[in-house]
Amino acid sequence: MEALKLERVVKQYGDKTAVNGISLGVERGEIYGLLGANGAGKTTTMRMVLGLIYPDEGSIRYNGKPFSSELQAIMGYLPEERGLYPKVKVSEQINYLARLRGMSASDADKSLRYWLDRFDVPDYYNKKIEELSKGNQQKMGFIAAVVHKPQILILDEAFSGLDPVNVELLKDTVRELRDQGTSILFSTHRMEHVEELCRHITILDRSNTVVQGDLREIKQGYPREEVLLRTPGEVTGLDAILGVTAVERQERGYLVRITEIGAAQRILKAALEQGEVEHFEIKEPTLNQIFIRAVGESHE
C-alpha cells in the first residue's frame, strides 16, 4: 500500500483551477519529485496533502486512510517560505513544534540534540534564530520538519538558498531518511537534484499534469538529440551530415544536435574517417530539457 496516494485531486479558487486532477502515489522509502514552474500548483498540492486545504474533488489517502488530525503527528513539512520565530531560542521553538506534533518534551529534546549534532552545530541549541545565517536558519527549519520523525515528509524547495556544502549535507540526510522508510514528497526547481534523488516524478504545468512516471522511463521516452564528440584534431563537414541540425564547437570537441538516432552513427563514422576519436556519447536528455520541453511546449 502506498504511504501517500492522491487520486484525481482538484482544487479550485473561485473560477481559477489551481490543481486539475492530479494523481500520484508515494511508496514507503521513496522520494517523489513534484516539479513545475512557479504557480503550477505545487504548493496547493502540498497544502492539500498536509490537510491545510480540502480538495474539491478526488481523494487523498494516507496508508489507505483519509485525512485526520492524528496524521499531523506523522507528517513533516518544510514550507518554501520557511520561517521560525526570529526571537526565540532554537531549542525552545523546535521543542515546541515537536511537542505540538505529539512528542514528549524529553523525546523532543533528545531528537533535537541528535539533529544538531548531525549537522555539526550543537552550539546552536541556545541561539536565537535571528542570530543565525540564512543557510543555518534553513537547516533549523529542516530540523523542525524532521524532528518528530515523520513518516511522510513534504519538502518544498528544500535546498534553495544553500551553499553546495550544505546542499550535499541535506541531500545525504534526505537519502538517509528515505532509507529509513520515510516517504518524501519533494519539490524543487533544481532538476539535477531530482535526477539524483527521485525515482518517480510529476511535472505540473498551469495546474495540469504534463509528464508523470518513472524518471528512467520518461528519459527513455524522449528522443536522444545530442551527441558529444571529442577528438584531438579538427573534424570538418559535420553540419553537412543528414539529420544534423546544429554543431557547437566546444573547448575539447563538438556538441552536435541531431533529429534522429541514425545520425549519431553517421557522425561517428565521419569523425573516424578524419582521425582519432577520444570520446563519443549519445547524450540522454536531461530532466532540464524534458522540463523545458514539457512546460515550454504548452506555453507556445
Binding site: 473561485g14 497544502r47 498536509l50 490537510g51 491545510l52 486545504i53 480540502y54 488530525s69 499531523q72 507528517m75 513539512y77 514550507p79 517560505e81 520557511r82 520561517g83 521560525l84 520565530y85 526570529p86 526565540v88 525552545e92 515546541y96 513544534l97 511537542r99 505540538l100 506534533r101 523542525a144 520538519a145
Partner: protein, 425 residues
Amino acid sequence: MNKMGTIIGFTFKNKARTKSFLITTLIMVVLLSIGMNIPYFIKVFKGEDGNGAQSSAVHIAVIAENGSAAAQLLQAYAKQPGVDATVTPYPAADDAGLKQALSDGKVDGYLTFTEQSGAGLGSVVFHMADDSAKAKSFLQSALQQVNAQLIAGDRLTPQQIAAMNAPVPLGTEKITADGEAAQDKSHPLINYVIVYILLILFFMSIMMTGNMIAAEVTSEKSSRIMEILITSASPLAQMFGKVIGIFLVGLLQIAIIAAAIAANLMLPHNSGVLKDFNLDLGQLSVSLLLYGIVLYILGYFMFALMYAAVGSIVSRTEDLGQAAMPVMMLGFVNFYVPLFSISTPNTLLIKVTSFIPFTSPLSMLLRIGVGDVAAWEIILSLLLLLVTIFGLGWLAAKIYRTGVLMYGKRPSIKELRKAMKAYKI
C-alpha cells in the same frame, strides 16, 4: 487539549519574557508608586516632614505702632493651645532686630496696621519674605478672631467668640420618592476610586494584550512559521491557546500592579494620606471587585477574539495598525463613555451602553460600582456579553482559519466571506 496546553504555555512564557512587557509593567509600577507618594513627596520637599517642628510653625512679627491692641490680641491668639505660631512685637518696621530676624529667616514676615478708624481692624498689610500659604491662612483666621474681639470688646468672652467662629456641622439625609426618610444610599468614596482605577487598568490591559495577540498572529504569518504551526495543530486550538496564554500574561500584569498598589498603601507614611482623602479601605466592596474580575475576563475575551481575527487577515505587521483601527475605536468607546460619566452614572447613555456587548464591560462596572443597578440588569448584560463572545469565538475562528493562509494584500470582506466558505473550522 494537550496541544492547547502546549500552546498556552509557549505563548505565556515567551510573552511574559519580552522586553516590552517587562518595561511597560515596570513603568506602570514606577508611575503608580510615584503618583501614590506625591502627597508625601510634596510634604518632604516643603520641609514639612514632621521632624522640623521649628520650620513648620508660623512666625510673624507685628509692628505695634498703630495697633497695639490688635497686636496684643494676636499674641494672645497665638498662645492658645493647638495654634502653632509665634507672634513677636517690634516697635517699628525699620527696627534693626526685625531686620536681623528677617534676614535670618526667624520670622516669615511682619504685619503693619493702618490707623484704626471705627470699631474693627483697619486694613492690615503682611510684608513677607517668601510667599507662605501657611502664614497667610494662619493670619486669615487669626485676624478674623482679633477683629471680632476688637468689635465685641468685653461684651463676649473669648470662648463665645471662638464658638461663634466654629463651623456648623451640616448633616444630610436623602428623601426617597415615597417620602420616607431612608438612609443615604450614595456609594462610599472608595467605590469611585476603585471604579476609576479599574476602568483605567482594564482598558490599558485589554488594549495592550489585544494588540499583543494581533501582533503575535501577524508576526507568525509574516515570518511564515504559521504554515508549520497550522500543520501541527488546528487553527482553533492555536487561536484559543494564544488568547488564553496572553490572558494569563494580562492577569500577571494586573496582579503585579495590584501588588504595587497594595504595597504602596501599606507604607506607613501613606496611611495618613488615605485618611486625609476620607478613604476607608474597610468600605471596599468585595462584590465590586468580583464583578470587576468577571467583567474584565469577559471583556478581555471579547476584544482578544476580535484582535486575533484582525491579526489573522493582515500579512504584514505594518498593516496591522490600520486594520485594528475599528476594534480600537470600540475599545475607546468602551472606556471613555464610562470614564466621563463617572459622576453621572445613571444617565440613559450609560444604561444603554451597559447592555451593548461591545461597551458593556466597563459601563456595567461603572453602574455596579457607583450607580443604581438591579440584579436582573447585571445578569442580562452578562448573558448578552457571553452570547456575543461565543458568536465572536465562532466567527473569529472562521476568519482565523481562512486568514492565516491568505497572503498578499488584505482581503476584502467579500473575498474573506468567499474564502471562509471553503474551509471547515
